[in-house]
Amino acid sequence: MSVLVYLESEDNKFKKSSYETLSYGKALADMMETDIFGVVFNCSNTDSLKNYGINKILKIDNPDFNDFSAKKFSHAIVDILKSEKIEVVILSSSANSKFLGAYLSGITDSSYVSNVIELPKSLNPFILKRTCFTNKAFSQTEVNSDLKIISITSNSFGLIENLSDPVIESLNINCVDSNHKILNIEKETGSVTIADAEIVVSAGRGLKGPENWNMIEALAKTLGAATACSKPVSDMGWRPHSEHVGQTGKPVSSNLYIAIGISGAIQHLAGINSSKIKVVINNDPEAPFFKAADYGVVGDAFEIVPALIEKLKARK
C-alpha cells in the first residue's frame, strides 16, 4: 500500500508547499516501507520533484484540468486510487488543497484529517498529531479509515532533500462532467499570499488609518513577505478581508510573523500561534502580544518601521 501526494502547481510551476508535502510523504513512505507517488495536473517540467525522493510521477496532461476544480480533480484521483494501491493521500493546507481533501474524502467515503503537523506517532494504530482549538491545543488523532486523506500545515515539516530516480507515467484520464463553470478568476498580482508566505508582516488598529499602510507594504516588500491585518482593520474596510488573520480569519503558520500595532487579543493570537517566530512592535509595554512573542520592540511603529526598512535595505 503506497502513499500518494497531490502536487499542486500554478502557471506550470510547483508550489513550494508541494515540496513540503512530498518531503513528508517520502518520510511517511519510509516509515511504512513503501513507495511514494505524486499526481501532477498540467505541469510539464517535473525535474525538481526528484530532489524530494519521489518514486513515481503520475502526470495528467489534459486541458479540461486547466482550472482547479475540487470535483474534477477528486474524480481523477479516484481513478488513480482504483489502479494503484494507495493507503494515504497527502495534501498541503492551501485553500485549493483543503477544498480538494474534504471533497475527495466524501466521494471515497473515508476520513480527512487536516492541520497535521508531524509524522504519525505509530502506524498501527495510525495516530497523527494535529492542531485544534485554533492552535490552543494539539490532538493525537487515531485514524481508522482504510484510505487516509491528510493535509499538512505549511512550514510544519520543512523540506528534506532526498535524490531519487522517478518513473514518469502519463495518465489518460477523462474529466467528469460538471455544470459548475468558472466565470472569472481575479488574481492579486505581484503580492505574496499569506498561505504561501514564509514571512508575514501584519498590522492592526495601532496604525490609525488605511493611509498609513505604505510603510507596512514597504517592509513586506523588503522581506519578500505577505501582508496581513487584525480583524477590526478588515471590518473597518482599511484592508481587504483576504488579509484578516486570526481565529475567524486566515490561519498563519509562517516562519516569521511580525505584528505591528496589534494588541494580541486571544482570538488574534489563536490564528497566528503556529508561526515559528513572532516579533511584536507596540508602544504599549503591557500589550498582551509581548507574552506571546519571541522578540519585541516597545515604541512607536511610525518611527520603528521606517527605521527597520532602512536597516534591512542597508544590510542587503
Binding site: 477528486s74 471533497y103 482549538f133 466565470l183 471590518d235 478581508h241 484578516h244 475567524t248 507574552k291 522578540y295
Partner: protein, 248 residues
C-alpha cells in the same frame, strides 16, 4: 427554495481550553457556547435569502440537548425551523453522515455549513457532505447569488478570488465576506419571543460510527520570555532574526 444551515455550537473565543478524563475530552466546565462564527455568516446570508429568494430556512445541529440554546438563538436570528439530530458528535465524518441521512429524507436546494469550526478546525463537514450527496460544492465562499435553479458565487483562493456558476443543489462553506461583520443579526426581544413558537424537531440519530478519534489532547508548552530590543537598537533585532532565529 429550501435552505439548510448546519450549525456547530462551539466554545466562545475567549474560553480557557482545558481537558479532562486523562486529557481525552474537552472540559466544558464554565465554558460558554456560541454559534460557530463561520456558520453565523452563512445563517445571516440564508435569512437574507428569505426576502430575496422567498427561501425557507432550516437550521440543523448534530448534538445533545444542551445545543438547543444555540438552535433557539438561530431561530431568533430568523431561521424558520430547527432540527436537532440527537447524539454526541464524534467526528466530522459521522456528523456529515448523519446530516446526509436527513438530506436524503428532505431535499434542500442549498446547504450552508461554516467553512470550518473554531474548535476542531477540521474543515471537513461541507466537503464530505457534498461528496456524499454528489452536490456541487464551494468553500471559502464570499459571495452568493441565486436566481431560479442557478447560483453564481465567489470563493477566496490563495492569491485571488474565483467567480463561478452552477446549478443547484449546492453545498456552501461559508465565512466572513458572504455577509459582513456589521450585517450579523443581533436578536431583538420580538425575535426571541417568536423563536419560542417556532418548531424545533428532534430526530433520532442513525448511530453512524466515527472514523477518527481524538485519543489525547496536549496543550502547548509555556512560552519562554520575550526578548526585548530597544527601539534605537534595531540592528540587534535584525541580528537576532538572522543569526539566532534564522528566519531572514
Amino acid at each position: 427554495m429550501n435552505i439548510l444551515v448546519c450549525i456547530s455550537s462551539v466554545p466562545d473565543t475567549t474560553s480557557k481550553i482545558n481537558f479532562v478524563d486523562n486529557d481525552s475530552k474537552f472540559d466544558i466546565n464554565g465554558v460558554q457556547f456560541i454559534i460557530n462564527p463561520n456558520d453565523e455568516f452563512g445563517l445571516t446570508k440564508a435569512v437574507w435569502m428569505k426576502q430575496s429568494n422567498n427561501a425557507s430556512v432550516t437550521v440543523l445541529t448534530v448534538g445533545e440537548a444542551s445545543v438547543e440554546t444555540t438552535l433557539r438563538k438561530c431561530l431568533a436570528i430568523g431561521a424558520d425551523k430547527a432540527i436537532r439530530i440527537d447524539c454526541l458528535p464524534k467526528d466530522g465524518y459521522s456528523v456529515a453522515k448523519e446530516i446526509e441521512s436527513h438530506c436524503n429524507d428532505v431535499s434542500y436546494d442549498i446547504i450552508i455549513c461554516g467553512r470550518e469550526s473554531i474548535d476542531y478546525n477540521g474543515g471537513i463537514v461541507p466537503g464530505l457532505l457534498a461528496g456524499f450527496l454528489d452536490y456541487n460544492f464551494v468553500t471559502n465562499c464570499v459571495d452568493l447569488n441565486v436566481d431560479g435553479k442557478k447560483a453564481v458565487f465567489s470563493r477566496e483562493m490563495s492569491g485571488g478570488t474565483e467567480i463561478s456558476e452552477c446549478e443547484l443543489p449546492l453545498v456552501v462553506g461559508s465565512q466572513k465576506g458572504l455577509v459582513e461583520e456589521k450585517d450579523l443579526i443581533i436578536p431583538n426581544m420580538r425575535g426571541i419571543m417568536m423563536a419560542r413558537q417556532k418548531p424545533l424537531d428532534v430526530i433520532t440519530a442513525k448511530g453512524i460510527s466515527s472514523l477518527t478519534e481524538d485519543k489525547k489532547f496536549i496543550k502547548p508548552e509555556p512560552k519562554s520570555e520575550v526578548k526585548l530590543v530597544k527601539a534605537n537598537e534595531l540592528d540587534q533585532l535584525i541580528d537576532l532574526l538572522e543569526n539566532e532565529a534564522k528566519v531572514i
